[in-house]
Every structure is written in C-alpha cells, then in structure tokens.
Amino acid sequence: MRLLQRLKRGMSTQKSRPQGNSNYAYTTARVRAMKSKLLPKETYPRLINMQIDEITRFVGELEYKEDVDYLARFYEGVDLIEHALNRNLAVTFTKLISISEGELNFLISEYLKKYDIWNIKTILRGKYCGASTDEILEAVVAAGRLTYTFTSELAAKPTYEDVIASLSTSEYASILKDYDGTNLSVIENRLDKKYYQDLFTAIGDPKSKDRKLFSKFIRTDIDMKNLITLFRLKKYKVNDPETADLILDGGLRLKYKEVEKMMPLAFEDFLTELENTSYWEELSDCCGPNMDSLTDVETKLKKLRLKTAASFSHVYPLSIVPIMDYILSKENEVNNLRIIIRGKAVGLSDEEIKSQLVI
C-alpha cells in the first residue's frame, strides 16, 4: 500500500483525495521515535558557545550525518551544513508523507504543500531572471508532494511557459495560467493564499477534539500570517486597495472583517486597533509607533506559534496533533541550527543569535 502511494506520488502532481483508513497508530509511533531524535533545548546554549567548526562537526555527527556526507562533494563550510539541514528536512517530511495513509496522508500533504508552492515559486523566479538549472535546484527543498525528480525536470525546462505547461494538470494550473512573465508577485501571493485556503478547507468543520485542536493551530497560523502581512504593509505605507486580496480568511482570534478594517489604517492607528486584540499582550513590548524593525514581531509570533503547537501536542497521542507538533519541531530545529551557524559565520553576537532562536 505504502509502495503504491509512493509510486503515485512520484508520478502525479494531482491533489490526492483522502482514500482508505488512516494509520494513526503506526504513523504516530514512528513520529514519536523520530521526535526522540530531535535536539533537546539544552543543546542550543551549548552550540552558541561553540566555534563554527565545532558546530559543523557536531551537526555532522547527528541525524544529519548522511546528508552532510552526501553533500560534502558539492559544498563546504556553512553552505554544506545549510544544504544538509534542508536535505534532511526534505527526506524527513517525504518519509512522513510516505508512511501515512488515507486522510492522515492527505492532511500531512496539505500542510507540507507549502514546500511544493515554494519550489514552483523558486522555479518561476529562476526562469524570470534567467538563472541556470543548477542555481534553481540549489534553492529547491523537495519536502512536499512534488518529488525532487519532478521538480528537477521542471527546473530544467527552458522557459516559464514550459514549466506552466508541465503543471497544467496540477491543482496550481488555474493560477499559473494567469502568469504572463511580468506579474510574478501577484502569482506568488495567489499561490500562497491558495495554500492557506486549501489547508482551511482540508480541516473542514472539525467534529473530534483532536481535529478541533488541529484547526485551532492552523487558524492561529492564519492569524499570524495576517498580522505580519499587516505590519509589513503598514510599515511600507502600502495603501493600495488591491492589497486587501492578501488577507487570509479563517483566522481564529482575528476575523476577516477585523483584518479588513485594519487594512486602510495608518501605522499608529493600526497599533491602536491591535491593542484591542488578544495578540497585543504578546506583542506589546516590541511594538511602538517608532519601531524600525519588524523582525522582533516576527520572532515573537514564531515563538507563539510553536508554543501553541507544543501546548496541545501530548493531549491526543493518536491524532494529527503530535505529527503536526513533530513537523513544527523539526522545522524549528533546522531553523535554529541554521540561525546559530549562519549567525556565527556573519559575525552576529551571541545575544543577537539567542534573540532569534525559537526554543
């Protein structure tokens, strides 16, 4: 069955509908074992105190050994570690898709579809600026439903029209057909919006408690995306009415109407309006009318996102919840390792690195 699923995944770009029974027991048991291999939070302060070479050696002795060994032929130093981290992430998430069945597989695939969208965007961007196939493939992370082989074939296409033609039977075809070679940002936004819309639709109207938690997590994610989009648009004083298209529907604590109301406001008014929301408590200490940078807000929201997921990860052991928790924790581990090693390489202070870590 799993072999059949893997074969189907490799051959088709079509969205697969949930079929058959979900194997929650099997997948969650595997995920528990995988989660036990994640780095404990005590490791990060130790890593911050290490030199780049020590960190490289340390990472090379972990779960990432195989990836480091494989990629050592092509990269070295910090680049090697970053590519190894991404390769491991792709391998791990692909494994999750291949070991899960039925509806569970559908939900995991829907969540990991962000990597497919990321890869399509990267290929279109690459074709737009005339990057070589190798350059494009360096920026690809095949952690979703589209296999690396298929993505490589797309990247090797000579023009963006050929890329779009190859995806004509995929679920992205309706958006991609509107790409005329100049409106890349519009297409990117529509693809990203589709991701969140599909995720929201995939959850549907949750009946069971575990599904409700999963729904809560996704909807919190949508809130955070809306919040950071608002912050960015306000900071850059973008008042184009068309930006209303960027609002994602389905937020938990910030309803569509509330976000829509905040859209035309000036930055100061937006902050005043934000004070009335439940997110203000988490964001109040890094927000102000004269704030130069939004990175603190973004880091705070990331931390909140992980905290939300971790808070209910142990509640329903045989559900999508621990799997989601694992996906987030794995992404977070990769991000943290990258922040430490890249931060060290560019000479960021330990304090600056620490402030960016989500532990």
Binding site: E82, K121, C129, D192, T229, K237, T243, S293
Partner: protein, 205 residues
C-alpha cells in the same frame, strides 16, 4: 628655447614681449584656476568624507541585515527571493563643468522600491528579507552618490595637479626663459647699435 637659438632682431623682441605678456596673463589665470579648484576640492572633500562614512555605515548595516536574513530565512530563501527582482536600478550618466573640469553627474532611478515593486510575493516572504532589501537599496544609493563625489574628487585632483604643473612650468621655466631671451636680444641689439655707432664714427673719421 635657448637664448642662443634666438635671432637678435627687433621683430623677434616684439614677438617675445607679446609671448611674455601672454604667458604672464596665462600664468595669472591658471593660478586663479588652481586656487579655485583647490577651494572646490576642499568643499567636495568634506562632502566625500560624510558620504564615505555613510557608505561604510550602510555597508555594515546591509551586511548585518543580509546575514540575519540568511540565518533566519536561510540562504536558499534569500537566493530564491533575489531571483524575483524586477526593475534593476537604472543609472544615467551626465556631465557637468567645474572650472573647465568635466565631472560626472550620476542620476539613478528604481533604486528604492516599495514592497510591492520588489517582485516577490508578500505572503511567502518575511520581514527579514524586506529589511535586507531595504538595507541594500540604501547601500546602492550611497554607492551611487559616493561614486559621483569620489570621481569628481579624483578628476579635480588630476586637474589641480595638471594646473599646478602648468603654473610651475610658466613661472619657473617658460617666463624666465622668455625673459632671458628678451634680455639677450636687448643686449645684442644694444651691442649692435653700439657697433654701428662706432663703425659710423670710424668711417667719418
């Protein structure tokens, strides 16, 4: 031009006088030009110092921001986002004249962009990328200003050096040599006059 190569004639003397007058007025003008250029140079020098320190600061910030974006979003994300860049900055090169020195005037467009003009989607990117792009746009702007001012400074320096050489050549070589030639002709003419008077007296006697 050695004094001995000169024909000691009255017309040559008149010619030399003209040349000396011209050289002296040229010397005066070039001296004024040199002083003017030096003044202009010092004016630009103070501007260049400010621009250079701003450029260094902008470079430091840009490096830090791109480092942070590489660390948080990953180099893969930054690279992919950079592929999407639209409207590459356009640079228009014009020229202006400072006391006869042609210096460049660089006009730039599409350097600073709003978040919508950068080519990448807003939903799929982060503020780390925005801030790195901001910092680099500022850096490019500073580079353009620094390029204009520093090229102007270099051209002014070259011209000051050239004018200084000309002033010195006129002051210490051309004018003294002309004076020497003039003195030589005068001396020869006077001598010829004396010889002539003596010859006439001898014939009379």
């Amino acid at each position: 031009m050695g004094a001995k190569d000169i024909k000691p004639t009255r017309s040559e003397l008149i010619e030399l006088k003209k040349k000396i007058k011209l050289s002296q007025s040229g010397h005066k003008l070039l001296k004024m030009k040199r002083d003017g250029l030096i003044l202009e140079f010092f004016d630009i020098l103070s501007k260049a110092k400010d621009v250079r320190s701003e450029l260094d600061k902008a470079y430091e910030v840009a490096n830090k921001k791109i480092g942070l974006a590489n660390a948080v979003d990953g180099i893969i994300t930054v690279k992919s986002t950079a592929f999407a860049l639209q409207n590459i900055p356009q640079i228009e090169l014009e020229s202006r004249n400072i006391m006869g020195v042609v210096v460049p005037k660089i006009e730039s467009s599409s350097v600073r962009k709003s978040i919508e003009e950068r080519g990448y989607g807003i939903l799929g990117t982060s503020s780390y990328t925005d801030e790195a792009a901001d910092a680099y746009e500022k850096l490019v702007e500073n580079i353009i200003v620094a390029a204009e001012i520093e090229t102007t400074m270099k051209k002014l320096l070259d011209d000051i050096e050239k004018t200084k050489r000309r002033v010195n050549a006129l002051e210490f070589k051309v004018i003294p040599e002309l004076q020497e030639s003039m003195d030589f002709i005068r001396l020869r003419l006077e001598e010829m006059e004396r010889e002539n008077t003596f010859r006439l007296k001898k014939i009379k006697g």
